[in-house]
Amino acid sequence: LTLPTDTIIVVDSNIVLGRCFPPGVDQYADVAREVFAIIERHSAKPCILDTIDSEIESKIRRRFGSIAEACRALQHEVESGPPITGMDPREALDKLTTGIRSALPENGGAISVIERRVEERIRTNPTATVDWWAYVAYQILGEVQACVTEAQKQRELLSLERVDSQSYPKAVNLDKLGLKKDRAHIEGADAFARNRKKTIWFVTFDSPLLAKVERVAAICPAVVVMSPSSLRLRLEPPVSQQSS
């Protein structure tokens, strides 16, 4: 089966982020890779809405900025207390990462990746310092930065086609559906689809949005919200279904 010619596939920010981060950092990384592979197999070009593009940037910043913030807070705590002496690098790394994990329990994957890289650096680049705490804190900040740059690079290399949905007047109001940020995406996708006479397959992991697929379809018939599994079944149905 091939994608209908009047249809474009828009991927949500959670799918793009899953593709930009390594599997350890993002729980959706593997499924996101599969989504892109399916799209590629059908010679289609994955698209993103302008509103999703901005969301991707701010989600990357938020995810790693929060780690930088937690690291700085721990550094401030230490600076306001008595000087730390006799701490070795392992102890400094343990205490800092434990502190960051306590502050950000939801960010465990990213913290583990950063911890592993700092540990590797300490092991392979021996250095002499009297202040291991500060040294490790600086290393963590450097790794936070590296993760952001790497995610930005991955996002650029995905060659996503950007759909300027905001340049079209909105025809529907999804206020009653309580979709939060997704509301702007769906309203924009609907405006684009109506004006350009296209159908949009909107692929997402977002549970609240997937829970309202039918209600969205009733208001925005040209926007088909679907999960990655649904995308696969549409484009690559089981053999028995194909023959029937």
């Binding site: 900040l141 450097g142 590296a146 740059t149």
Partner: protein, 338 residues
């Protein structure tokens, strides 16, 4: 740690023991000045020293116009006083001065060789305008560009270390690490990638070989005419300057941000460029947001430019401490052999 940047300092640069130290020198742009910018109409053959002075003067003028100018506020002190303070602070540390002089010298030499300007210098008689001389000049351009990039990288590392210290010793928004930090990576990566990719292309075209790059001898034995050589070189210049301009725009926005934070939070001009804890209350959140937005947009433009023009080499890079094969080594590796 970003692979384009060196290890952070073992001792934090903003610790109490470093309170009296001044911050790193004002970073120089990477664009190569053109012949028009450097040629004194009255003097047909300038000296290298005169060109270096011109580059240095233009650098401080650029800071006032293009970096402080982006802030969009009336300067808190006269522009002349700021320039003179910056010059003084940039001259305090012998190592910093030596590094700056090396960069100025490389920039002047690069500009002279790129534009084919005649210079008045002992042992530097009038140059013959023939193929062999031009080929030697162009090989020298590639070598100087590689060395200059290495020197530039050192100044950015120093600036980056200062930025990390600034972040730790301020209450500035934590998402700044995700904007300012990667801007160093992208700026350096852009210059490293484009110099490497375009340099190799130029060498291949002029030497007429198919392999990834060629030796100096193969390059100098080119069978192309002088006109064909200049056509290849013009293409190299256009491509490298487009990326250098986009990368310099990132540098200017980042510097505008850092200059605003430093200069507008200083209690007096004397405090400007001294490492200290930043009092964020003196800063206007709206100005910080505007400068950060400018930086984000310039980084985005650079990212898109690299992804569209150099996706191959970009995809092989990994921004991580575990991989050191990035722009910092790649240029010297390419040109050092001869």
């Amino acid at each position: 740690m970003s692979s384009v940047l060196a290890l952070p300092p073992a001792v934090p640069p903003f610790g109490p023991e470093a309170a009296a130290e001044h911050s790193s020198a004002s970073p120089l742009s990477l664009r190569t000045p053109t012949a028009n910018e450097l040629t004194d109409k009255k003097k047909r053959r300038p000296t290298f020293a005169a060109i270096q002075r011109q580059v240095l003067d233009a650098h401080y003028e650029h800071i006032i116009k293009n970096r402080l100018g982006k802030i969009g506020l009336t300067l808190p002190y006269p522009a002349k006083a700021i320039t003179s303070h910056l010059r003084e602070m940039d001259s305090r540390d012998e190592d910093v001065v030596a590094q700056r002089d090396r960069l100025m010298s490389l920039t002047a030499r690069l500009a002279v060789r790129t534009a084919g300007i005649e210079v008045e210098e002992p042992g530097e008689g009038p140059r013959r305008r023939d193929r062999v001389t031009r080929l030697q000049e162009l090989w020298e351009v590639l070598e100087i560009a590689a060395t200059r990039f290495q020197e530039t990288r050192k100044t950015r590392v120093s600036s980056w270390q200062g930025f990390l210290g600034l972040f730790f010793h301020s209450t500035l928004d934590s998402e700044l690490v995700c904007d300012l930090g990667p801007s160093y990576d992208w700026e350096l990566t852009a210059n490293g990638l484009v110099n490497d990719a375009e340099g190799k292309t130029l060498v291949r075209q002029i030497a007429g070989v198919n392999q990834e790059t060629a030796t100096r001898d193969e390059f100098l034995s080119s069978e192309l005419s002088l006109k064909e050589i200049e056509t290849c070189f013009r293409r190299y210049l256009v491509h490298t300057q487009v990326v250098a301009l986009a990368a310099d725009e990132v540098l200017d926005w980042r510097e505008a941000f850092l200059l605003y934070v430093d200069l507008w939070s200083a209690a007096s001009l004397a405090e400007f460029r001294l490492r200290r804890t930043i009092d964020s209350n003196r800063l206007d959140p709206a100005v910080l947001a505007q400068l950060n937005e400018g930086l984000r947009s310039s980084v985005l433009r650079l990212r898109r430019l690299l992804a569209s023009q150099y996706s191959g080499p970009l995809s092989t890079l990994r921004f991580s401490s575990l991989d050191s094969r990035l722009a910092r080594d790649v240029l010297l590796e390419a040109w050092a052999a001869d």
